[in-house]
Symmetry: C2
Subunit: 224 residues, 2 copies
């Protein structure tokens, strides 16, 4: 392996640091998603990234550091996708729909990132519990803010509009949990189209079972 | 410790095996909930259970075996509580309400059991992922069956009544995830009464945000 280092290092020098770090993180996310933290090896990550192991450590530190960097990048990406999806000018139902669509779109396009963020098998016991809990708390905060914004956009004084901050936070926690759980279910049924999965959660969250049992469904604007 | 063993063993012999195993599992659930699998020690479990370590191993095997036995017992208890709560003769909304109420009641009364079942920090990485996934799959199956039963009890042909098995499973997965997530949120806000927490999820799941933003809320029968 050491015999290979000089050309690799030479190649590495031609790439800006940010590009090199992105390559390493892409490789790490793929390997952690496949094996989980414990079983993943720095050898495999350096191989997939096409970089020597000493350089891998020099760029992003220990395996623990690298795992945390993966969690943070994928968490930021997921939140950015949801925030970008929820158009503040749209009616509340369309805001929720676009947010859900963006969430499931992320899961579809970044399945490895989602696995690292969420699959219990890839977490290393309690070791990263604090990091994951902080990410999840920020996600619930984001969803809570989007819910409040969507609602105050409608002409609504009562209902959620009058709910306490605790109600909104609790509802956001429930919605995040519903999304996570449905995403996991989807990984086990990957032939379902993204629109069908998103629409199912939209119908639960917007219409509720009370409407669904009566046959009232929510339909995206372009299908009305 | 060996000096203490004879009287303990003598005491143990007076108890039927089922009673002794229950004591051990109660102690193990408390210790695993407090420390997580990795940090929990068989010493502490044997101390809390009031039984010698050799007898602890003789009754329920290794620490891994004991952890799996805890997961299974608490999982069965939770599912039995939900199944007993959902009265098949009640209208669909009341069935869902009682099921949710039973779930949050379990979390309140068996907080340690819930922690062992759900807190990521207490899981031992991928080691018990299969066991936990199987329990979760059974829970989603139970909730899906209860949803179908509740719906076919109403005079409903359309809506969920006409939904495919996949729709029901997906919705059940979302509802289970929403419940888990709200239960975790509740552990961080333990001063909220059980009825308030259950009612919040009931309103999301039965009414949906579409009704909530308009100020329409679901109210339990005894408050109507």
């Amino acid at each position: 392996m050491h015999a290979e280092e000089p050309p690799r290092a030479a190649r590495a020098k031609r790439l800006p640091r940010a590009v090199r770090e992105r390559q390493i993180l892409d490789a790490a996310v793929a390997v952690f998603a496949r094996h989980g933290f414990h079983t993943a090896s720095m050898d495999e990550i350096s191989e997939v990234a096409g970089i020597s192991k000493p350089m891998l450590y020099a760029y992003l530190g220990s395996k623990e550091d690298l795992y945390v960097a993966c969690l943070r990048r994928e968490g930021e990406r997921l939140m950015a996708a949801i925030e970008a999806g929820a158009d503040p000018a749209a009616p509340p139902d369309v805001q929720l729909w676009r947010g859900l669509r963006a969430f499931f779109g992320f899961v579809a396009e970044h399945a490895d990132g989602w696995r690292v963020l969420h699959q219990p098998a890839s977490a290393a016991g309690g070791q990263f519990a604090g990091e994951l809990a902080a990410l999840r708390g920020r996600m619930i905060g984001l969803v809570g803010r989007l819910l409040v914004r969507a609602v105050s956009n409608g002409n609504v004084a009562a209902g959620i509009g009058a709910a306490t901050r605790r109600d909104t936070d609790g509802l956001a926690a429930a919605l995040v949990g519903a999304g996570e759980s449905m995403a996991d279910w989807w990984l086990a049924h990957p032939d379902e189209p993204v629109g069908v999965v998103a629409s199912r959660l939209m119908n639960l969250a917007w219409m509720g079972f009370g409407d669904l049992v009566e046959g009232r469904m929510w339909v995206p604007p372009h299908k009305r």
